[in-house]
Structures are given as structure tokens and as C-alpha cells.
Amino acid sequence: MVTLFGVFLLTLLVITAIGIVRAQHLFVAVMLTGIFSLQMAAVFFILDAADVALTEAAVGAGVATVLLLGALALTEDREKPAKRRAWIPIVVVSVTTLMVIYATFDQPRLGDAEAPVHQHVAPWYLEETPRLIDIPNVVTAILASFRGYDTLGELFVIFTAGIGVLFLLANPSERGTLTLSQSAEATGLRHHLVPRVVGRLIVPFILLFGLYVQFHGDYGPGGGFQAGALISAGFILYALVEGETMALRALSFRLLGGMIAGGALLFVAVGIAGIVLGGNFLDYSVLAADPVAGQHLGIMLVEVAVGITVTGVLLTIFHSFAAREQRS
């Protein structure tokens, strides 16, 4: 029965994707992309991947839509019309699609216990996590401890993205800070009473929920990435409702830069602490007297580091778009 739901949602996904590609007005494409992310989150949820669904919902449907709208405010509204039909790309894409479809004939069925992906490390992780790390959420255990290197790499990718946006969009002035655009842009929705009141009411709860997701990641779906997205969504809501000036007074660019670097630094520091205390890089067992307690401490610190950097990067990108001078 639930498979039927999944197939139905996937069909809607294809229809949405066709709609996005065919849309000429970019605003429409952005709205349809929001719906696309929601459908993906629902599909992930139906496939029982709760952490991924939470991240997709928080980042894709919430923050990404706002970022795309911010970018849209700086560019043209419509797609440039294609000058001529592009035959070579059509042929290449069709051939590749047929090859991929042919390749899926050999794929094992969904949930097959004999599939190769369930044979090698997955049973080992499932068996050893209660003994070595002792937290209920195996996804967090794998992400933060067993595959800590990969998470370090992901964190640095996000870090690089933030730095890249700052390089491209920062508007250097004499004092080295971003110049804000005119007062109409900077006041946000202050003149609209109802959204302003409700927005201000909800911001503390979003921040609190973000903190809950951050620290509850050991026990349920959650962790650093989702928490970072949620906390930055809270600050983005505040910036939308109260205006850029007030939002930048709350968390200035300097502080955001510190957060971006600080999170990455914290992660690496935990790794080096492992070496200093006698183990390997990113070996959490030596961080405390009892190896399991050390693992808990290491995972918590690492997830906090991820949360801080993700919050910093998302807010930096948002403010870089929103605080930019309006085009003439």
C-alpha cells in the first residue's frame, strides 16, 4: 500500500520536473522547485529515511526557496529564449537515459536482503553500534563517528561554498563591510502588522526546535545539518519580518564569518585532540576515561561544529543576496 503512495508521489515528481523545465517565468520555476523539494521529502519519508527527509524539508523547501527568491530579485524575470534547437544535447541525453534505464534491469529489488549493499559493512555497523557507541540512532553514529572523515569533508565543502559566495557577492567599501540598499529594502515587512506579529511570535520556537533537533540527533532524526538549516531559517524569518538592518544587528557579518570558521576549526580540533590524547585522528574513544563516554562527547562536539558552520554559511548567503544594492 505504501509502495503505491511512493509510486504516486514519484509520478507527481516527474510532472513537477517537466513543469519546472517548461516554465518561462523564473518565479514560477522557483515555486515549482519548492514543491519538488516537498515531494522529495515525502518520498524519502516513505522510504523510511527520516534524517534525509528532515534535511530535505528544512533545506530544500524552506531555505533554498528563500535564497532563490533573493537571487531572483537581482536578475531578470524571464528565461532568455533559446536561439535554436539544440540537437546534439537532445541526442546525448536520450542515449544516456536509455543506457541508465538498461542498467537498472540488473538492480536488486528494493529491500532485498541479499543485495550487495546489505552484505558488507551495513550488518557490522548495525551490530557494533550498541557495543561501541551505544546511541539509538545508527545514522548519526555512522555519520559522526564511523565515517567521521566523510563528514569532515562535507563540512569543508559547505565552508568553501560560503567563502565562494562571499568572494563573489561581497561589495567592498572603504570599511570592508557590505553596504545596505535603500530603506525600502532594509525595513522588510514592518508595515504589515499581522505577519510581523506572528513572525516574531514564531522565531523563538523555531530556534528552540533547532536546538532540540541538534541535541536529539543521537536518539531520533536530527543532527548538525538539519539543526543548522532550522536555526538559520529562524534568523531568515526574523530578517524577512524586521528588515535587514535589525537582522544584521542581531548577527553581523563579522560574527557569521566567525561562525563559519569556528565550526570547521572545532571539528578539526576534536580530531587533533584524538591524536594528542594518544589515539588516531578523529578517534573519539580516547577523549574520556570510558571509550563509550568518549564517543558520546566526540559525537556531540562534532555535530555542534557542523551545526554552527551550516548556520553561518546559510545566513551569509542569505544576507549577501538580501543586503546587496538593488539593481538600477
Binding site: 504589515h192 499581522v194 505577519p195 506572528v198 511570535l201 514564531i202 520556537f205
Partner: protein, 104 residues
């Protein structure tokens, strides 16, 4: 007691689902943006309350019930506000409501 709760849940979930479906049809078939807004936002909020109440009755006294109550409170706060914000945005951009002259 179990039977009463189950029956109440059934009723609430079915009416909630029916309202949600009616809202969907309204959003599709109404002639003008403002009328579609009316259909979609009213049934959104009402359907949400009914469906979530139906599930809360099944959850009993537990953390899940508290989370569901929190979801209900937040949706109750934000659905009407979003409807207001959207209608306001349309009005700001001077989207005119459709006027039809009825010949008697």
C-alpha cells in the same frame, strides 16, 4: 472507551479528509484568485484541525500527542497569516478581482 475513541477518530479523520479534498477541488475550479484563496485557506486550517485531532485521540497521553498538539498550534497560527500575506501581496500588486455582470 476504546470503541468510543476509535469511532471519534474515524469520524474526525474522515471529515478532515473530506474537507481537505473539497479544498483541493475548490482551488482548482474556482474562477478567480481571491475565491481560490478563500477555498484553499479555510479548508486548509479546518482540515488540519480535524485530522490532527483524530490522530491525537489515537495517540493517548504521550509525547507524540504533545508534538501533534504543537504542530496543530503552529499550523493554526501560520495558515491564516500566510493567507493574509498572500492576499495582501496580490492586492499590493493590484491584481483585480474578477467582476461579472449578472443579467437577471
Amino acid at each position: 472507551m476504546e470503541l468510543v475513541l476509535d469511532f471519534a477518530s474515524w469520524v474526525l479523520l474522515l471529515t478532515g479528509g473530506a474537507f481537505v479534498f473539497i479544498g483541493g477541488i475548490g482551488a482548482l475550479r474556482m474562477p478567480d484568485f481571491y475565491t481560490r484563496m478563500h477555498a484553499a485557506s479555510l479548508t486548509d486550517t479546518l482540515g488540519t484541525i480535524l485530522v490532527l485531532l483524530g490522530i491525537i485521540l489515537q495517540a493517548g497521553v504521550s509525547l507524540a500527542a504533545v508534538k501533534l498538539a504543537a504542530i496543530m498550534v503552529f499550523l493554526l497560527l501560520t495558515c491564516p497569516t500566510a493567507a493574509y500575506a498572500l492576499a495582501n501581496a496580490a492586492r499590493l500588486a493590484r491584481l483585480a478581482p474578477e467582476r461579472r455582470v449578472r443579467d437577471e
